[in-house]
């Protein structure tokens, strides 16, 4: 028998960075397919624009920094960032806004801090927040699910409206957003928020057409399916151990518990936990955004704290804040707290005793 000697480390990671990134991209496919089926081709075109911008930007900056361009591009991290951004923005956003957002995410948020592994903030979410506060009007123009709209744009219409603000047949964004019954529709989160601000109760808000054909009483038509598709992809990631279970579980649990407390206290003015989880980007955020290995906490205990606070911020900002959804803001806020969380949740070093036992006096 041949015994080989090798130096440590003996236990190696089974996957390298690019494999992890590609697995995450693959896990996003069900969600993207659901988005295409329910909301049209916009997301695919945005993904193409964003990925192209990300590759060009990354190559440019890496070249300017004097590093190896092929090495930086081969880890797929820029492509993943672009995809995460592309599925988060409204599908019919003008193309140059997508380009600006992706450039900001890659050039400023990621590369200026030193590239992959050194960025403090989640690049995709920082890019999203930048777009949201820069172009608040365009960033909240979501299409209703195709089943509810009167005009269903095909691929070329979608491409044309992204590039030139009008479809091939000359319809504008506002016309596309008109539903079958002639009423312009917002997202479920927006609808409920507006209704609550108009002194309607939460059950009354659910009577709006956006909630009519749904899978559960309090989920919006279409949006819930997208969330569930991302949930499926996310569970695969957990199963294959690409991401840990701590962050998504903690995020969803804390959001559910906090919203349940509000809901039980006053079910007329606060939305139910199921509504909060299935609508907006909470599931997507919990599995794909918050679990970013660079910007999330690195200890198991820390991950639970990190996720729990993200869930808390999402519910607080959704309920009391000015914006309908809050995953991006929550993730950015908690990114800032990660060094602190990591400091207080350092695992015990092997061979050392816990603090209390070490000093019995």
């Amino acid at each position: 028998m041949k015994l080989t000697l090798s130096s440590s480390p003996h236990q190696r990671v089974k996957r390298d960075t690019s494999q992890v990134m590609r697995l995450v991209i693959l896990a996003m496919v069900p969600g993207i397919i659901a988005q295409v089926i329910l909301f049209g081709f916009g997301v695919l075109i945005q993904a193409m624009i964003a990925v192209l911008t990300a590759i060009v930007t990354e190559a440019m900056i890496v070249y300017m920094r004097g590093k190896r361009v092929t090495f930086a591009l081969n880890d797929f991290s820029a492509i993943l960032t672009a995809l995460l951004l592309a599925v988060s923005i409204p599908p019919l956003l003008p193309w140059w806004m997508t380009v600006v957002g992706t450039f900001f995410a890659i050039a400023i948020v990621k590369q200026l801090y030193g590239g992959l592994g050194f960025n403090l903030f989640n690049p995709a979410m920082a890019g999203y927040v930048m777009l949201l506060i820069s172009f608040p009007a365009a960033m909240t123009l979501w299409l209703p699910p195709s089943s509810l709209t009167s005009i269903q744009p095909d691929f070329w219409d979608t491409l044309s409206i992204i590039m030139s603000d009008f479809t091939v047949s000359g319809h504008s964004m506002d016309q596309l957003r008109v539903a079958v019954d002639g009423v312009t529709m917002a997202t479920p989160l927006d609808t409920v928020k507006t209704a609550l601000s108009q002194n309607l109760t939460y059950p009354e808000a659910l009577n709006q057409p956006i909630f009519s054909s749904n899978i559960a009483t309090s989920a919006g038509a279409g949006w819930a399916w997208v969330s569930l598709a991302y949930l499926a992809g996310g569970l695969v990631l957990v199963k294959t151990k690409v991401i840990n279970w701590h962050i998504p579980t903690a995020t969803l649990a804390s959001a559910a518990i906090l919203s349940l407390i509000f809901f039980l206290a006053d079910s007329d003015s606060f939305a139910s936990p199921l509504f909060h989880i299935l609508n907006g980007s909470l599931i997507f955020g919990a599995f794909f955004i918050a679990t970013d290995p660079v910007t999330a906490s690195t200890t198991d205990k820390g991950r639970i704290v990190f996720g729990a606070f993200i869930g808390m911020w999402v519910i607080i900002i959704r309920t009391f804040g000015g914006y309908p959804d809050a995953v991006a803001f929550a993730v950015i806020i908690m990114n800032m707290a990660v060094p602190l969380i990591d400091y207080y949740t350092r695992p015990r070093t092997y061979g050392h005793m816990a603090k209390k036992a070490r000093n019995p006096r």
């Binding site: 400023i108 820069s134 608040p136 365009a138």
Partner: protein, 230 residues
């Protein structure tokens, strides 16, 4: 006393109060949403800086060392009050736009920094000149940042020039491009921080470029003394 040429270089580039000393960032970041706002606050700061430098230099041999800082602050505060009243009288709209940031010039560390570091050690003429170039350096940064943010955020330049220059400037506004969805980030506070960071980065890049072009001087090896008497 350093030469005037050296003073100019220090104030405008090498020791620029905004880009290098990073002093007075609060008004710098808060009012630079437009070119004219930046110019207005820059000129006000420059006037205060010159006035306080001259006065501090005048009394530098009279004031006792122990109480110099409160005296400097009072001198600066009087000049700020003068400038504030002048702006209230002659450029009322700009006065309203800049608001709290005019009285806050008192807290601009660049001013007390120059009073302490330069004016209290030099005669009147160099002190006044130092105030002028330091103020100009500060104003240039304010104006560049303000112009950058205004162009990015609104697509215009020199908006509200009449607030500073009177009716002559009514139609000075230049529209570079018109847009329905302005780049709000540039106008909002984060735009100021990002713009300031990029300006500093540009300055450092230019410095590095100049340093690289300069021929390398031969390093002279000096023997380090290891046996100093204590």
């Amino acid at each position: 006393m350093p030469s005037y040429q050296d003073l100019t270089l220090q104030g405008l580039w090498k020791n620029n109060p905004a880009l290098v000393q990073l002093l007075g960032l609060c008004p710098l970041l808060a009012v630079t949403a437009t070119f004219i706002n930046g110019l207005g606050l820059g000129l006000a700061t420059m006037l205060v800086l010159m006035g306080s430098n001259i006065t501090v230099s005048l009394i530098r041999n009279v004031v006792r060392n122990e109480i110099r800082i409160p005296i400097f602050v009072m001198i600066i505060a009087s000049f700020v009050t003068i400038v504030q009243l002048l702006m209230n009288a002659f450029t009322y709209e700009l006065y309203l736009t800049l608001g709290i940031f005019i009285p806050l010039i008192v807290t601009n560390c660049a001013i007390i920094g120059r009073a302490e570091a330069f004016a209290s050690k030099n005669s009147i003429l160099p002190a006044a000149y130092d105030g002028l170039v330091m103020g100009t350096g500060f104003t240039v940064v304010l104006v560049v940042l303000g112009g950058f943010r205004e162009v990015l955020g609104n697509g215009t330049l020199f908006t509200g020039a009449d607030r500073l220059f009177g009716e002559v400037a009514n139609n000075w506004q230049v529209t570079l491009f018109a847009t329905d969805s302005p780049f709000l980030l540039a106008i909002l506070p984060p735009g100021a921080f990002l713009g300031m960071g990029l300006l500093i980065a540009c300055k450092n890049a230019v410095d590095a470029h100049l340093a690289a072009r300069k021929p390398q001087t031969e390093k002279t090896i000096t023997r380090a003394r290891v046996t100093t008497e204590i």
